[in-house]
């Protein structure tokens, strides 16, 4: 039996009928069409599906859509500014932090969440904040550099 839920995603209200076993990531991707959130493992191991729910990064594959009822969600599509790339995204581009790009939306959101809590993190804090986001391409170095770069620019 479907249940009706309300979500506020990237400042837009949605009222949706969802199956009780549907995950948030599936609703975001396939029902709403926000495909920037990626699915890499569906069991909470890889972090590709990271979104910000009520201010905290979560693996949206581990959240049932019904659990997200009434919550405020930010996906990667909500990060881009009207004027173009968010400074964090600009740093990712500039520093070469993007290769295959499949982990990138989740990485950007984990990083953004970190910088909101801690605008000037040190390297260990950056690495800890993204330790739930697997990347197989970069060896993480340029991702760490990008987050550090953005932090410097935004707190200058």
């Amino acid at each position: 039996m479907k249940r009706l839920i309300k979500l506020l995603v990237n400042d837009k209200d949605y009222e949706l009928a969802v199956e009780p076993n549907q995950t948030l990531v599936d609703v975001l991707r396939y029902t709403i069409g926000l495909t920037g959130t990626k699915k890499g493992c569906e069991v909470g191991d890889c972090g590709s599906c990271t979104v910000i729910m009520d201010g905290k990064p979560v693996n949206s594959c581990l959240v049932l859509a019904v659990q997200a009822d009434g919550r405020v969600i930010r996906t990667i599509e909500g990060v881009e500014a009207d004027t173009g790339l968010h400074p964090l995204q600009a740093s990712f581009v500039e520093k070469g932090a993007v290769q295959c790009g499949f982990c990138t939306p989740g990485m950007v959101l984990s990083a953004q969440s970190l910088l909101e809590r801690n605008p000037k993190p040190n390297e260990a804090e950056i690495r800890t904040a993204i330790s739930g986001n697997l990347c197989r391409c970069t060896g993480y170095q340029k991702i760490v550099e990008a987050i550090h770069d953005c932090s410097e620019k935004m707190t200058r």
Partner: protein
């Protein structure tokens, strides 16, 4: 200051903004009206005869649109190497591993498709299974494939020089046996695809692949569709590293189901299915004997290798050749003998993974070289330098090092890591190790025997002359090939990087063998450069005529026309261009621009299209198997790794990595570093954590990214990357590979550092705390 305007810089990647904003489309981000969802039934048993498959209940489930088995798919054999086509799309007589494909279903949604799978009744007669090389080769062992006695899927026997005579001259002969573990490539995006037939019977397959070209050919062969009726399109791909180098049952099932139902069919592997499909790194068991003179001069090497290959051959013939041929360098070695055996087991088939076939061999040998250095009392760095090859050297197995900055790499990591102050001089539990390696810059021959071009490229100018569009079949899988091609095209044409667009990964655009064997920078790069030069020539010809000057006097640089013999009156051209563009906002001023010249060319000749192509010339030796390992160029690396080993727990921590890689000319410096850093991360994972584990019935125990551990941001240290630029005569602008060569030294450098820290040699991967602890305890006895 670089002599170039575009290449050899840190130009931002073309695809990065799209990927950083979630706009970039991967295959599962696509959907089509009326799309069905497919799913595959896989064997729960490792080895069994199929007695009967009953699909009737699945077929009658509401929402199911098609169920296909070998009956519908036929029994056409396919694989990677034509010499070993040993797979059929679905099993018909028996299953050979847990995960072997039996049937596929298309339904209105995934849930219904999965339910339908559970309704297919398969009756089996279980057969005895073999899971290790030893079991599989034992007398009387059950055979996976009747035609392959002792389960040998491929074997190689090569000798270069005279090993026996060589060993007689040696002062020290060392033999060791080294074992790695089966790996998973653990790319973040599971395979997915979406297949659709149009109303004229033309098939379009969107798929997460490294090789659209080979997928097209395999689908054509297996499903009996002419190549010209198939278009394979690769959207953005979330990593490949090797296992996405061949057509999958997923892709062929989607195509077949789309054909049967007349609807678009989408399919994805789950993460578990990625592990089951595998096609990743083999387990290699190397027994290596090296003979040297007392000054450390290498004289002879014998290498015997058994590869645990899984149920089918996949890339295995190439793999078993590579694990021999890639020890030919980067040291001067006059005598080398190789005996390789790839063995079928009742496990998922292994295939190609970054550093194809050479990674374990390299680890085994580089570790042994350190053992020899220690025994002879020679610094391991020095031992390597005494034997190092340089540009122009040819290995005993006829690999021509047309450029090789190997010595420069060793010296760079020695100085960059402070080696001389550290080796053997740090406190117990801390150590530093070195290793080297090299890799092909593109396979010299296609996988199927053919005189085909390896890459063709088309460059088309926009009618206003302002944009050059590169059309290529090459595969951007995250390594940055689109950006590389844009940079090469911009440089060769003389326009700005921002004025080049790349459309790639589509078999309709051009021919390209794809992203494997570290080939695209050199091969697609060559074709791109040639196409750009073709365009440039055409534009110059028209402009020369318009200005009544010789074409040799004209060049393009950075989007501007350069007149080599002083000022030329181009006012007529400018006036005409401006007349052509009344009301447009960007009238050119100052120097004559490429855009104006290109518009004149369009007015004279219509759409300006240039083409380029590449295939290597005659390469390598004449011996059997010479095709594997032969390449127009070789990249090489040296690495120094610094570790801390907890002597009480055996835990290894990587403190520092210094990596030097010779990539010829670095087209994009940031991307080269990215390949180096990523390679080291993957190598570190294989050295310390990674192992696909099985239960006693052949089922994978850790088919997920929680229990199959790859490095996280907390495991990986920062890498000091040093780019060594030789000038590769066979590469476009002197460029060659970095994507795979960089992984070669990582594992042995770690092994050698662990020895320096503990005084213990460990010949088995991964270096788990338990294994290291036991080795330390054993050494105390």
């Amino acid at each position: 200051m670089s002599e170039y305007n575009v290449i050899n810089s840190r130009a931002p990647r073309l695809d990065a903004p799209g990927k950083a904003t979630g706009r970039a489309k991967y295959v599962d981000d696509m959907s089509m009206p009326g799309m069905l969802y497919g799913a595959i039934l896989q064997s729960p048993l490792a080895h069994a005869r199929i007695l009967n498959i009953d699909t009737s209940r699945a077929r009658s489930l509401p929402g199911v649109k098609a169920v296909v088995t070998a009956k519908e798919a036929g029994l056409i054999k396919y694989g990677v190497s034509p010499a070993r086509y040993d797979e059929t799309l679905y099993c018909h007589d028996k299953v050979r591993y847990v995960g072997d494909e039996l049937a596929a279903v298309a339904a209105v949604d995934l849930e219904t498709a999965m339910e339908a799978l559970s309704l297919i009744q398969v009756d089996y007669e279980e057969l005895p299974a073999v899971f290790t090389v030893e079991e599989a080769m034992a007398e009387g062992a059950p055979l996976l494939h009747a035609d392959y006695p002792r389960n040998i899927s491929a074997e190689v026997h090569q000798e270069f020089g005279n090993v026996e005579a060589g060993f007689k001259e040696c002062d020290l002969i060392k033999t060791t046996t080294f074992v790695n573990k089966r790996q998973d490539a653990a790319f973040l995006e599971p395979h997915g695809c979406l297949a659709e037939f149009d109303l004229f019977g033309q098939l379009t397959l969107h798929t997460s692949t490294q090789v659209p070209h080979y997928v097209m050919r395999t689908v054509a062969m297996v499903l009996g569709i002419p190549v010209g009726k198939i278009r394979v399109v690769k959207p953005y791909v979330g990593g490949g590293f090797g296992p996405k180098c061949e057509a999958t049952p997923l892709e062929m099932s989607a195509c077949l189901l789309a054909k049967v139902t007349g609807k678009p069919v989408k399919m994805n592997y789950s993460r578990e299915q990625v592990f089951l499909h595998s096609r990743a790194r083999h387990q290699f068991i190397h027994t290596i004997t090296t003979g040297v003179k007392k000054d450390g001069t290498l004289v002879a090497l014998t290498n015997e290798c058994h590869l645990e290959g899984g149920a089918y051959t996949s890339f295995g013939i190439a793999t078993v050749y590579y694990s021999g041929s890639l020890l030919g360098g980067p040291y001067k070695l006059p005598n080398m003998k190789y005996d390789g055996y790839r063995i079928f087991t009742n496990r998922p088939a292994c295939g190609a993974q970054r550093g194809h076939g050479g990674v374990a061999a390299r680890a085994a040998w580089e570790q042994q070289l350190d053992m020899i250095a220690v025994e002879l009392g020679i610094d391991p760095m020095e031992l390597r330098l005494r034997n190092i090859m340089s540009t122009g050297d040819v290995t005993c197995n006829v690999l021509d090092m047309s450029s090789l900055g190997m010595k420069e790499c060793v010296e760079a990591v020695r100085d960059g890591s402070d080696w001389n102050a550290k080796r053997g001089k740090m406190s117990r539990g801390k150590g530093v190790g070195i290793a080297c390696g090299f890799f092909v810059s593109g396979a010299g021959y296609p996988i199927y025997r053919s005189d085909t071009f390896h890459s063709t490229v088309v460059i088309k100018l926009a009618e206003d002359g302002g944009t050059a569009q590169v059309l290529t079949g090459s595969a951007e899988i995250g390594q940055g090939s689109d950006t590389t091609m844009a940079m090469i095209a911009a440089e060769a044409l003389g326009v700005k990087y921002s004025d080049v667009r790349v459309t790639s990964g589509d078999t309709d655009l051009a021919v390209d063998l794809g992203a494997y064997s570290s080939r695209q920078t050199l091969m697609t790069g060559h074709a791109t450069k040639e196409a750009a030069e073709d365009v440039k020539r055409q534009v110059i010809e028209v402009l020369a005529q318009d200005l009544s000057i010789p074409p040799e006097d004209i060049d393009f640089k950075n989007g501007l026309v350069v007149f080599k013999n002083g000022t030329v009156d181009f006012s007529r051209v400018r006036t005409r261009y401006i007349q052509e563009h009344r009301g447009w906002t960007d009238p050119p001023t100052g120097d004559l621009t490429f855009k104006e010249a290109a518009r004149m060319a369009f007015l004279a000749k219509g759409t300006i299209v240039g083409t380029g192509k590449y295939k290597p010339g005659q390469l390598g030796g004449k011996h059997k198997g010479a095709a594997v390992g032969t390449s127009p160029a070789y990249g090489c690396s040296a690495q120094v790794v610094e570790v801390t080993v907890d002597m009480d727990t055996g835990k290894v921590t990587i403190d520092r990595m210094t990596d030097a890689h010779d990539c010829g000319l670095a087209v994009n410096i940031t991307s080269v570093e990215g390949q180096m850093e990523g390679s080291l991360s993957m190598g570190m994972g294989e050295a310390l954590f990674e192992e696909v584990k099985f239960d006693s019935k052949g089922k994978i125990l850790n088919a997920n990214l929680g229990e199959y551990k790859i490095p996280t941001a907390l495991d990986m240290p920062n890498v000091k990357t040093i780019i060594v630029e030789s000038n590769e005569p066979n590469g476009p602008f002197g460029a060659k590979e970095v994507g795979e060569g960089a992984i070669m030294p990582t594992i042995p450098a770690i092994l050698n550092a662990v020895y320096d820290a503990t005084g213990v040699w460990i010949h088995e991967l991964p270096l788990t705390p338990e294994r290291v602890y036991r080795a330390i305890q054993q050494a105390k006895k």
